[in-house]
């Protein structure tokens, strides 16, 4: 361990090599027709498709619109999940009676595959944006809610006791102690929740959509346009990593005391 910088540099190098190797293998198996190009399109094809989609869009809708609408759905659903799950979860954790009412409902629906109840949502809410957003919302709600309940239970009892001894009670105690004390866990759960919602994106855009990244992949797979599928997957992969990195950066800023409790 000579030097930290060298060490990190070496590792980035290795990661790069790994991806270079993956691309090489990809190139070789397609170049020499080791598999049908229906099954694995060549890198060249994928790049061409990518350029075409960037330039002309897919199905008459530009790539940015596809990306935008998907992100908008994700954003609205996540925002709704945050503003509902956080207070409800904190209340459930703080007032055990609220918890007794809400907990078992969340525990019941949480393990359900979203596709199982998507039909029900469509029957209830129709095929518009509301059912899509609700599906994503439900996917994002549970992790945040559960984390909030657990976070309240894990608050250092000294935080609460010393606040009370300093004269805090009721609202002060909740907003100035309980909420910030849970914030690190809340943030972790938001990252999880957004990830889960993102994973549900394709399901949500599977029915009666004509735009969105997920729909693009689904539509491409309907017509077996494997190069479009690959482009879609690569865009989704990169977007997913970027979203998580963004949230991580935000977390580091907002919950600067994380790990120091």
């Amino acid at each position: 361990m000579q030097n930290k910088k060298d060490f990190n540099k070496n590792h980035r190098m290795l990661t790069l090599l790994t991806w270079a190797f993956i691309f090489l293998v990809w190139f070789i198996i397609t170049r020499f027709n080791l598999v049908s190009h229906l099954i694995v399109p060549s890198p060249g094809e994928v790049i061409q498709t990518f350029i075409a989609i960037v330039k002309d869009g897919y199905n008459g809708i530009s790539l940015w619109e596809h990306l935008g609408i998907s992100m908008l759905r994700l954003l609205i659903a996540s925002a709704l999940a945050i503003v509902t799950a956080v207070p409800l979860g904190l209340f459930s954790g703080y007032f055990s009676k609220v918890g007794a009412v809400v907990d078992s409902i969340v525990q019941f629906y949480r393990p359900l595959p979203p596709l199982a109840y998507y039909v029900v949502l469509i029957l209830w809410l129709g095929i518009g944006e509301s059912s899509k957003v609700t599906l994503l919302y439900l996917a994002a709600f549970a992790p945040i809610y559960i984390a909030c309940v657990a976070a309240v239970a894990n608050i250092r009892v000294e935080y609460l006791l010393s606040a009370k001894s300093l004269g805090a009670s009721g609202k002060d105690l909740f907003f100035q102690i309980v909420f910030p004390a849970c914030l690190p866990d809340i943030f972790t759960s938001i990252r999880t929740a957004v990830g889960v919602a993102y994973t549900t994106l394709v399901s949500a855009e599977m029915i009666a959509a004509t735009s969105g990244l997920g729909w693009m992949v689904i539509d491409a797979s309907r017509y077996l346009k494997s190069s479009v599928i690959f482009v879609g997957i690569i865009i989704m992969g990169i977007t997913g990593v970027l979203i998580d990195q963004g949230l991580k950066a935000l977390e580091k800023k907002i919950v600067f005391w994380k790990g120091y409790q």
Partner: protein, 257 residues
């Protein structure tokens, strides 16, 4: 003991509920605390010292007996009784200053007054220069000084310290003892402190309570005055003399099992 009576505990018993039968933590404890007392409580681990402190703080309700403060029963924790725990319970999301300002702010004092109070007590614990840092950047001793300042900022009638220096190294502990002693002498506070360290109790307290094993009760009380008479002007350390050593041995014999 010609000072005002602050706290009066009579026949106090505390049982903790468990799945089986309740655990008796305190058994018929009587205690009076007056203005400017510096009480140090010693006793074996698990004898109920923290339980006694928690009752006084208002965190735990007595199962039996009475606990009066200024002649009134106490419903729960309030700003009359400031608490410092062994491990810092500072709020990491607030700066050092905000931690100290927390009590006055809750009280609803005007902003200038809040700032003045916080500065005053931060100054007293020599931490004005780190006022804007988050508490997790401080060393253990500094954290406990912030906790002390935070409790003092409310100007409580009594300070309750539960092994406040237990997690500190021996050197830092000596410095903390000097600081607390100085504050107590200057501000004429009333302090109720739990400690495991006989030397600490001897060099700080005016009254030493020794408790028995569980269920805890007070088996002996010593009135001491080393803190007043025997402090080296220069180093702030207690002069160890024969009296001191004899009392030390006596207390060690009492609690050593």
């Amino acid at each position: 003991m010609n000072n005002e009576l602050i706290i009066e505990i009579d026949n106090l018993t505390v049982d903790y509920p468990t799945d089986n039968e309740p655990v008796r933590a305190l058994d018929r404890v009587d205690l009076k605390i007056c203005q400017h007392d510096f009480i140090c409580v010693l006793g074996p681990s698990g004898c109920g010292k923290s339980t006694l402190l928690n009752v006084i703080a208002g965190f735990t309700q007595p199962s039996d007996g009475t606990f009066l403060m200024h002649g009134q029963p106490v419903a729960g924790p309030d700003r009359q009784r400031g608490v410092v725990f062994q491990s810092a319970s500072l709020y990491p999301w607030m700066s050092v200053r905000k931690n100290v300002e927390f009590g006055p702010k809750i009280k609803g004092l005007p902003a200038t007054e809040i700032t003045r109070i916080a500065s005053h007590y931060l100054e007293q614990v020599h931490l004005l220069e780190v006022a804007d840092q988050p508490p997790f950047q401080l060393s253990g001793g500094m954290k406990q000084r912030v906790a002390l300042a935070r409790a003092l900022a409310n100007e409580p009638a009594i300070l309750l310290l539960d092994e406040p220096f237990g997690a500190l190294d021996a050197l830092t502990r000596i410095h903390m003892q000097q600081l607390v002693r100085k504050i107590w002498q200057q501000d004429q506070n009333t302090i109720f402190m739990i400690t495991h360290d006989v030397d600490e109790a001897l060099s700080l307290g005016t009254r030493l309570l020794v408790m028995s094993k569980c269920p805890g009760t007070i088996i002996q009380e010593f009135s001491v005055d080393f803190c007043d008479r025997a402090i080296d002007e220069h180093t702030g350390r207690v002069h160890v003399d024969a009296d001191y050593l004899a009392l030390r041995e006596e207390i060690l014999d009492l609690i050593d099992v």
